[in-house]
């Protein structure tokens, strides 16, 4: 437990020691802000029109603003996650500090868990900063905060799951660029799996679609918390972390 915290703290600190971290946070918040602006603009426009046509004013803000926003944000995440994970193991392998970690009385699983949780914490910060945009909704409107919370939980789970795979890919190489490209490819793959259901309805297509991280995010975006989706994410996280631990072990054998 203590070892895990040692790794976690070091990793988190080294995120914030670099300007890259702030660049990522800023990038995310700006893109988020743009999508937020677009979504609210459409919303305002629509509600204005519906009022003109004599329908009731309060359209569903969640349906019109939060949900499309969250779907977009989950896609931005795919671009940000490789930048967060690329360094984790690749850099330690390149610089040789992996020898320090792996010859210290620490278990491989503690190293992996510490690094992944630091990455997830950093991603949570990225999300938290971007969420400041939503303050405007609460100032000028009166949205229901519970579905927003659910959506954010979904974003975090989806992120944690992709981060686990990104960590795994980073452990396969000593080159950060390759680690980033690999993680991006994996994220993209897990994303586009969802598309197959658009033109294929056979059993296999549903299986492939089930594997997509986006399929499982949709209910969260709607504000629906379904244990089935939580289980999907949690098991995917386990799989990613398990693969990383195995990869570290095999690193010893391959060297």
């Amino acid at each position: 437990m203590r070892n895990f915290l040692t790794i976690y703290r070091k990793e988190l600190k080294s995120y914030f020691a670099s300007w890259v971290a702030y660049a990522i946070i800023a990038f995310f918040a700006v893109v988020y802000g743009y999508f937020f602006y677009v979504a609210t603009a459409i919303f305002v426009n629509q509600s204005f029109q519906s009022q003109m046509m004599g329908r009731g004013f309060p359209m569903d803000m969640h349906e019109w603003v939060i949900r499309p926003l969250m779907m977009n944000v989950s896609v931005i995440g795919l671009f940000v996650i490789p930048m967060i994970t690329m360094r984790l193991f690749a850099e330690e392998k390149r610089s040789g500090t992996i020898e320090l970690l792996m010859t210290s009385p620490v278990r491989d699983a503690e190293i992996v868990l510490g690094k992944w949780l630091a990455a997830t914490t950093f991603y949570a910060c990225v999300l938290a900063v971007s969420a400041l945009n939503l303050v405007f909704l609460f100032i000028y409107g009166n949205p229901d905060w519970k579905p927003i919370l659910v959506a954010y939980l979904g974003l975090l789970l989806q992120g944690a799951c992709l981060l686990a795979f990104g960590t795994f890919i980073s452990s396969l190489t000593r080159n950060q660029i390759i680690a980033a490209a690999g993680a991006f490819a994996a994220c993209l793959l897990l994303w586009v799996f969802e598309w197959v259901t658009a033109y294929e309805t056979a059993g296999w297509a549903r299986v492939v679609s089930y594997l997509s991280v986006l399929t499982h995010f949709e209910p969260f975006a709607k504000g629906v918390l379904d244990s089935k989706d939580v289980i999907y994410y949690v098991s995917a996280i386990f799989l990613g972390l398990f693969l990383t631990v195995r990869s570290l072990e095999s690193l010893r054998w391959r060297a």
Partner: protein, 323 residues
Amino acid sequence: MIKVEGLTKRYGRTVAVDDISFEVQKGQIVGFLGPNGAGKTTTMRVLTCFLPPTAGTARVAGFDVLEQPLEVKRRIGYLPESPPLYPEMEVREYLNFVARLKGIPKRDIPRRVEEVCERCAIGDYRDKLISKLSRGYRQRVGLAQAIIHNPDVLILDEPTAGLDPKQIIETRELIKGLAGEHTIILSTHILSEVEQTCQHVIIINKGKLAAPPDTVENLTRRLRGAESVAVEIEPRNGVPDAASAQRRLEQVAGVSRVLPRDGRDGRLLFEVESLQGRQVRAEIARAVVEAGWNLTELRPVALSLEKIFLELTASEQAAGGER
């Protein structure tokens, strides 16, 4: 303290370490000597549990590297070939991190960090970023990292490689200062380093032990077996000339070879090698005196470890090394 038996390590088809066995007793400083690519790093990586052996066993303080790696790791301090540093950290921050990683109790950490800073003479650099340190100081931080948990065994992989001569001397002194408290294995491809820092030497070449592990002195003596003697003769009025003196020395019973050397002030100097196990000094003295020549010096010459090394390992590798 360390016991290695039949250790073999293969990388795919390359055999990096081939069936080596040795033991290191508590408190010894052992030099692990061999040319580049001999398998020194590989052996050390097995001892530190960074790599598993392909065959054979390695035990540190009675714990097997495969079966109880955590126990082994607790007792080992390791300085890899390139010090494992995080450039974005400050020295003190880095040492704090390593101290926690090595499982030092929280309340002891500040004291231990101070101690190793003092030990390794990096006290003035505590608050410097590691990326701003010179090569020599990085090496010291690397050493500080290796001894922070006061390990029983210190494993140092080429601790002086890439340093300038002044830094090399300082590092050697530092290592010698650590002797006694720790059992130390240090690898090097530089012979004088072993002669200067170590009591024991393990010579490895192409993954195999080139000679059984031994003390530096014993190894010198054992290889000497055949004695080598420097003979200096002062000629009077050009007698004897170099050729006849050499011929005379070659006739002495038990002499295998006579090598002319550069004498000073017109004196003749020869290095005379005896056959295995023969003492020839008395014979040489008698032969020279009986010929009526002036014997000005007769002294045994120690074969330097350097020579031994050249004899033990393929000479072209030693000569072509980066020294």
